[in-house]
Amino acid sequence: MESETPLLDELEKGRWPSFVKEIKRAAKKNKAALDLLRVEELSYKDKITHWKHGGIVGVTGYGGGVIGRYCDKPEEYPEVAAFHTFRVNHPAGWFYKTEALRKICDIWEKYGSGMTNFHGSTGDIILLGAKTENLQPCFNELTEAGFDLGGSGSGLRTISGCVGPARCEWATIDTLDITYDLTMEFQDEIHRPRWPYKFKIKISGCPNDCVAAIARADFTIIGTWRDSIRIDQEAVREYVKNGFDIETVVRKCPTEAISWDEKNKVLNFVPEDCTRCMHCINKMPKAIRPGTEGGATILVGGKAPILKGAYLSWVIVPFMKMEPPYSEVKSLLRKIWDWWDEHGRTRERLAELIERLSFARFLKDMGLPVQPQMVFRPRSNPYVFFRR
């Protein structure tokens, strides 16, 4: 028999694991997965998407967590006429007991298409495609199994962070605990959207920023330290003895804070010149480690292009201690949200609002003392609004 999906079948070939094989696998047991495959094939033929706008769907008591999705050809593909997505809040750090994962699989096989994303860009487990009438019972069983929904719409998105102290020697803050604590504190903000637009919080344990917090979070927490890096000179000598090219570390130090004394076999270091960029630590993990006085740099405003172009987050607090119950960061968040709620326009991200009203105004309204760490360099123009 001729295949219904000749274009997609091409993507079963090749060495990288195939999502088409996965949909076909689900389609053996589930009619919606089969229709999903057919709709995707139609998109490959027509070169446009066949998904319409999400209407308002959800579960009782929540405004977010479910993305409504309908096919634009419901007669041809009745099984995916309504094909809504659950965002399920992941455990911090994406660690799982297999027992918990199996529960999700069983529930999703019962109520949904059997297709998932591990994970979505927000960090959530994505359960892809349920009929409207299945939403509530599926949610009920998910929470019975210990899983809650994540965020969507104009509210707080699921918070996510890097692997942190669970399995990384570089973390200077407890990214998993902060992620979990803030998530529990702000359940209302996640599940009941009430803001001008989306708001993202992401947390990285060190300046390597493995979860890209600086690029994609309106509120960015990045681990750093205030004292000096720790150098184990014996371990440095061991690296050099084993043929490690120490110059690749010295030459690439952006502030020329380190130098190699070949005669005495000592790595010299000037702590006040260091900007904690991580290069030497990354290259010599056995010999160089972050300092011990850990905390975080707080930045705001990171976002992708829509509407006014892309932004990287801006420093607003150069150093903040991060210890439970994280009161300082929570009160700062609440203050920012109130300000954004008060002044923001519909679909205006925090960075766009700050740009419209000025960074100086934002810092003043937040009561944050201005510091040279907040700018690359001062302004060059003379258009100063002197305040009287």
Binding site: G14, W16, P17, S18, F19, E22, R25, A26, E40, I48, T49, W51, H53, T60, Y62, N89, P91, A92, G93, W94, F95, Y96, K97, T98, R102, C105, G114, N117, F118, H119, S121, T122, L128, F139, T143, G146, D148, S160, V163, P165, A166, R167, Y180, T183, P207, V211, A215, R216, K252, C277, P285, R289, A304, I306, L307, K308, A310, L312, R345, T346
Partner: protein, 354 residues
């Protein structure tokens, strides 16, 4: 009544014993071989992580398959990375090769560590998104088939992070990736006036446009809007607030390629990815033009960059003029920015290369 606002499972309940014991106490790590990390704790405890690529869009049976391996060799625990890789964690060195053997039997690649191309972060595309200008899963599959050996080896000067976004909303950190594929519309929205009158709020629709291209319809009897096409840059924001402003177009939609971004602070500060190829057509199922450009840039970088140099750092050192020459990609009028903050990109020095 269902339970609500219980939040996610406490991460502490999901951690294997060796991680609980050594939380905060890791001393250093090394990469034993591609895809295998070895973390050593202050206590002397050793943890091996086997990193495995996945197609991201997976069936529940796939999850059950990997759970089975984790039950057999990892005491029933596993972890995912932010780039959709699976990590099998074990304190037993002898389990490492057994895990590798099992995942390879499932057809899954081991890699994604060190100076490699790791798994591609991507969005939903035609699989599930209403504003997608292109597919995502399919492009990713086509690219990774071609770059497979760069995932399973560590032969590049530095890590190369690739991302795919199916429209310029760019869910994920596409705008700061070493290489990025971005779905683009190139034609203004088509307005269905009757549908608009029935379904859309006119002030919200007008306000949604970042360039002020949307105006009220000049005929007061038509409760709709018009688009000044010369101001439209096809962002699709109006379509998101008003379904009657359809922007998807089989001929106009395609992808753009960006390069040279990063988020890490190592050496240089984070950087945005920059436009390399303004438009390539959607050509499913394998998007050959896209795969070719990505591979070309990657290989020119691999051949020319210095050790530890990220793509953006390499390009900044050699200069964009040389980058376009080395890759043979034409520099066009579209590379000169004409949107917000454009002037920051104009050259204000006589220092440049030929």
């Amino acid at each position: 009544m269902p339970r609500t606002d219980i939040g996610p499972p406490n991460y502490k309940d999901m951690l294997p014993d060796i991680i609980k014991r050594n939380y905060w106490k890791w001393k250093y790590h090394e990469i034993v071989k591609p895809g295998v990390l070895k973390h050593v704790a202050e206590s002397g405890d050793v943890l091996y992580s086997v990193r495995v690529g996945s197609p991201r869009l997976v069936s529940v049976d796939f999850i059950r398959d990997i759970c089975e391996i984790a039950d057999k060799y990892c005491d029933g625990y596993l972890r995912f990375t932010s780039r959709y890789n699976i990590e099998f964690l074990t304190d037993k060195q002898e389990n490492v090769d057994k895990i590798i053997e099992e995942v390879q039997r499932l057809g899954l690649p081991v890699g994604g560590t060190g100076p490699c191309v790791t798994n591609i972060v991507h969005t939903q595309g035609w699989i599930h998104c209403h504003s997608a200008a292109t597919d995502a899963s399919g492009i990713v599959k086509a690219i990774m088939d071609e770059l497979y050996d760069y995932f399973t080896s560590m032969s590049l000067p530095a890590g190369v992070r690739i991302a795919v976004a199916c429209c310029i909303n760019m869910c994920g950190a596409v705008h700061c990736s070493d290489l990025a594929v971005v779905g683009v519309h190139t034609k203004p929205p088509r307005i269905d006036h009757e549908k608009l009158m029935a379904q859309c709020e006119i002030p919200t629709t007008i306000q949604s446009c970042p360039t002020g291209a949307i105006r009220r319809h000049p005929d007061p009897n038509i409760k709709s809007v018009v688009v000044r096409e010369e101001l439209c840059m096809y962002c699709g924001n109006c379509f998101t607030v008003c379904p009657a402003m359809s922007i998807a177009d089989p001929e106009g939609d395609g992808v753009a390629i960006y390069a040279g971004g990063k988020v890490s602070n190592a050496r240089k500060p984070p950087m945005f990815s920059r436009l390399i190829v303004p438009y390539l057509p959607n050509n499913p199922p394998r998007w050959p033009e896209v795969v070719e450009v990505i591979k070309k840039i990657l290989e020119v970088y691999a051949k020319n960059a210095r050790r530890y140099e990220r793509m953006g750092e390499w390009i900044e050192r050699i200069g964009w003029e040389k980058f376009f020459r080395l890759t043979g990609i034409p520099f066009t009028e579209y590379h000169i920015d004409d949107f917000t903050h454009a002037v920051e990109t104009y050259r204000t020095t006589t220092q440049f290369k030929w």
